[in-house]
């Protein structure tokens, strides 16, 4: 039985001036699926991900979230969609003027209008989940990159989203910190979270991805399980790219 579609991408295209960044994308993300999006830089991976919560606006096509077309929503209406889609960025983007705890509490209080104690309880639960309870009162600047990214994941989870979007979450990290972030993401996947992850971590993709999308030149060139795609790529572009990352 196929699960229900959470995100449907229909004929999405995006141009910057005269440059085509996305060309006619048609994909579906189903409930509980983990999708890894791979491909050479400049392929349009981040742009596609950012279209999913309208940080970028597609030039044409529709993107449905829970059956609702989000490309037609106004800035105000977007709020209710975005609170259901957590996002984690390459550069963490924690708010440096707030403590870790305040970073986690901000959106639940401002958007969901929770009272302070309810928000605080959820925040501590999440900090425990990412193993950073003792850093609750610390400011982001005093944390390592890996710790900051784990806080960023907890901050996104505080809104109890249906989907989590990850935009190269480990690319800005020192190698010894990649593991701690991936393990948090792995636990999240095991708990059944629907995730779309732009990543180059083949190990992670093989372990948790239900589907891997290979993207180049603004197209999804190839789609399949991690094994299919990494071990038996069909297109020349995919063969070339996978050869390069294995040998690097």
């Amino acid at each position: 039985m196929t699960k229900q579609a959470v995100i449907e991408i229909n004929n999405v295209a995006k141009q910057y001036g005269k440059t085509d960044v996305l060309k006619d994308i048609n994909e579906t993300v189903r409930d509980g699926q983990v999708i890894c999006l791979i491909g050479p830089s400049g392929a349009g991976k981040s742009t596609l991900l950012r279209c999913l919560n309208r940080l970028e606006n597609p030039t044409s096509g529709e993107i449905k979230f829970d059956g609702q077309d989000i490309t037609v929503l106004s800035e105000k209406e977007l709020g209710s969609i975005r609170e259901n889609m957590g996002m984690v960025f390459q550069s963490f983007n924690l708010f440096p003027n707030m403590t870790v705890l305040e970073n986690l509490k901000l959106a639940p209080i401002k958007v969901k209008h929770w009272d302070d104690s309810a928000a605080e309880k959820v925040a501590y639960d999440l900090l425990e989940r990412v193993g950073l309870t003792e850093k609750a009162q610390a400011y982001p600047a005093s944390l390592s990159g890996g710790q900051q990214q784990r806080v960023a994941i907890a901050r996104a989870l505080a809104m109890n989203p249906k989907v989590m979007l990850f935009d190269e979450p480990t690319s800005a990290l020192d190698p010894e910190m990649v593991g701690e972030v991936l393990s948090v993401m792995r636990e999240l996947a095991d708990d059944g979270m629907t995730m779309v992850v732009v990543t180059h971590e083949m190990g992670f993709a093989k372990q948790v991805a239900d589907e891997v999308w290979f993207m180049a030149d603004g197209y999804i060139q190839e789609r399949g399980t991690a094994e299919e795609l990494f071990d038996h790529p069909k297109t020349e572009r995919a063969k070339d790219f996978i050869g390069k990352i294995i040998n690097s």
Binding site: E75, G79, A107
Partner: protein
């Protein structure tokens, strides 16, 4: 192309508003033949003066309260009494007096003013009430070198800017260089430090200086003057015929009883003795205290309004709505492109024609509007300095635009711009001193009063300098404290 269009638009707005403002007094003029009736109906007569010219008008310290006294004030009081109204005195710089009259800030101007033909073109004058004659002050040790007006040929002579003395010296002393300054006290200082060899002054004022400073002597001028251009008269708005007639009647009575020589000048002399009996700066501390108080009030209120206005203008400038953006850019460009002094004069005299604002309020408005433009640019820079990722992270959490600004962007922007904002607040304390030209009793204004009253040139300046430094240094400490609290890395 776009900027040129914008420039034209700004100029067009200016021309239109100026026409509206100019249109206003024309209406008032047509109806001013009820000038006397209007004053009697209001029950008060507003006199504008520049109280740094003893014995004509100056300030004195009476039981801890400073008040404007002098010969002119005594005459004005008698006039008010004859008209059965109360006298209200407004103080400002000499240069601003006639503007105050034309814009309805005052009903009459008394400041030892000579009714020259040039002035007669823009205002009406009463009969001449006093002819003082013209003197020069010279240093005593040079008195033998400059015994008369003739000896001043080819020398440097000083006089107050915009006065008869200035024009006379220029016209009648061959080869002279006339140096104009705003304040009598500054001229005397220049004389005593030999930057000038003589200072032209009305006889009573010159005599007052000689009495209080043994190093100066007065020499008589040999200008051949008719009463009309050397005597003092009261100035009125053009067309105030009924008022002028009534005042002339009072003046005639005063002259008949010889009140000026018998009473008024003697009273003025007594007040001057009180002022100079103790010229230690400690004795004048209430003057400085009041000045500090007003300077702080103006800076604080303008700072707060400036920040609110600055945030508003910055958000408008960053807004996607073109009209907001255009309005904000035009405002900022215009305010930054014109001197604060002109803005102060415009708010007090220009806008004052439509709404009669007191000097303090006008000063605060002008300084606030001015600093708002600068603060807006600082804040815009601060908002731009916060990385785009912060905005995106906040958006991805579903926060509204206003929550993003309030909780995420502005606090970080504030930290980044704090040093620049601190600079702006410090210059606000110093530059707000420009409001003294419309008679707001800030520290600079009070400083000039003390200099005029005590005949001491340098010491009051030194005191004011120290006081300004204490204020700005204190503010710097406070700002540093808050900056420390915002440091989280």
């Amino acid at each position: 192309m776009k900027t040129i269009k914008q420039l034209f638009a700004i100029l067009a707005v200016l021309v239109v508003s100026f026409t509206i403002i100019q249109g206003q007094p024309a209406i008032a003029h047509a109806a001013t033949d009820d000038s006397l009736a209007a004053i009697q109906k209001r029950g008060k007569l507003v006199m504008a003066t520049s109280p740094d010219y003893p014995p004509y008008e100056f300030q004195t310290n009476q039981k801890g309260k400073s008040k404007v006294v002098g010969m002119d004030v005594s005459i004005a009081k008698q006039i008010a009494k004859d008209l059965h109204v109360k006298l209200v005195i407004k103080s400002m710089t000499f240069d601003s007096l006639l503007v105050a009259l034309e814009t309805g800030k005052a009903d009459m101007v008394m400041a030892g003013m000579n009714p020259t033909p040039e002035r007669r073109q823009s205002v009406d004058f009463s009969d001449i009430y006093y002819v003082g004659g013209q003197d020069f002050l010279v240093n005593k040790d040079e008195a033998s070198k400059y015994p008369n007006q003739k000896s001043l040929a080819n020398q440097k002579v000083g006089a107050q800017t915009g006065t008869l003395q200035y024009n006379l010296a220029k016209k009648h002393i061959p080869g002279v260089t006339v140096k104009g300054m705003d304040k009598g006290a500054d001229l005397i200082l220049a004389l005593k430090t030999h930057k000038l060899v003589a200072v032209g002054m009305e006889k009573p004022a010159a005599e007052a200086y000689v009495k209080n400073d043994p190093s100066l002597v007065a020499i008589s001028s040999t200008y051949n003057l008719d009463e009309n251009s050397s005597g003092s008269a009261i100035a009125f708005r053009k067309g105030s015929d009924s008022l002028v007639t009534a005042v002339n009647k009072s003046l005639k009575d005063i002259k008949q009883d010889n009140l000026i020589h018998k009473v008024y000048l003697k009273d003025a002399g007594k007040y001057m003795k009180v002022n100079t009996a103790n010229t230690s700066m400690g004795h004048y501390w209430t003057y400085f205290a009041k000045g500090v108080q007003y300077t702080l009030i103006i800076a604080a209120v303008s700072g707060v309004i400036g920040v609110v206005l600055g945030v508003l203008l910055a958000l408008m400038r960053l807004s996607k709505v073109k009209v907001f953006k255009w309005l904000s850019v035009s405002y900022i460009e215009f305010v930054r492109g014109t001197p604060l002094m002109v803005q102060v004069l415009f708010v007090y005299f220009g806008v004052g024609v439509i709404v009669n604002l007191p000097a303090l309020i006008s000063g605060i408005i002008a300084v606030s509007l001015n600093s708002g433009a600068y603060i807006a640019e600082i804040i815009r820079g601060g908002i731009d300095s916060v990385s785009k990722g912060q905005d995106e992270a906040a958006q991805s959490l579903g926060l509204s635009r206003s929550d993003i600004m309030k909780s995420v962007i502005l606090p970080q922007a504030l930290k980044n711009i704090w040093p620049a904002l601190g600079n702006e607040f410090i210059s606000l304390i110093k530059e707000s001193s420009i409001v003294s030209i419309i008679g707001v009793t800030d520290l600079i204004y009070q400083l000039n009063i003390v200099r005029a009253d005590t005949y001491r040139g340098v010491m009051p300046v030194f005191i004011a300098m120290v006081l300004y430094f204490i204020m700005t240094f204190g503010l710097t400490r406070i700002l540093n404290h808050f900056e420390g609290r915002m440091q989280h890395d």
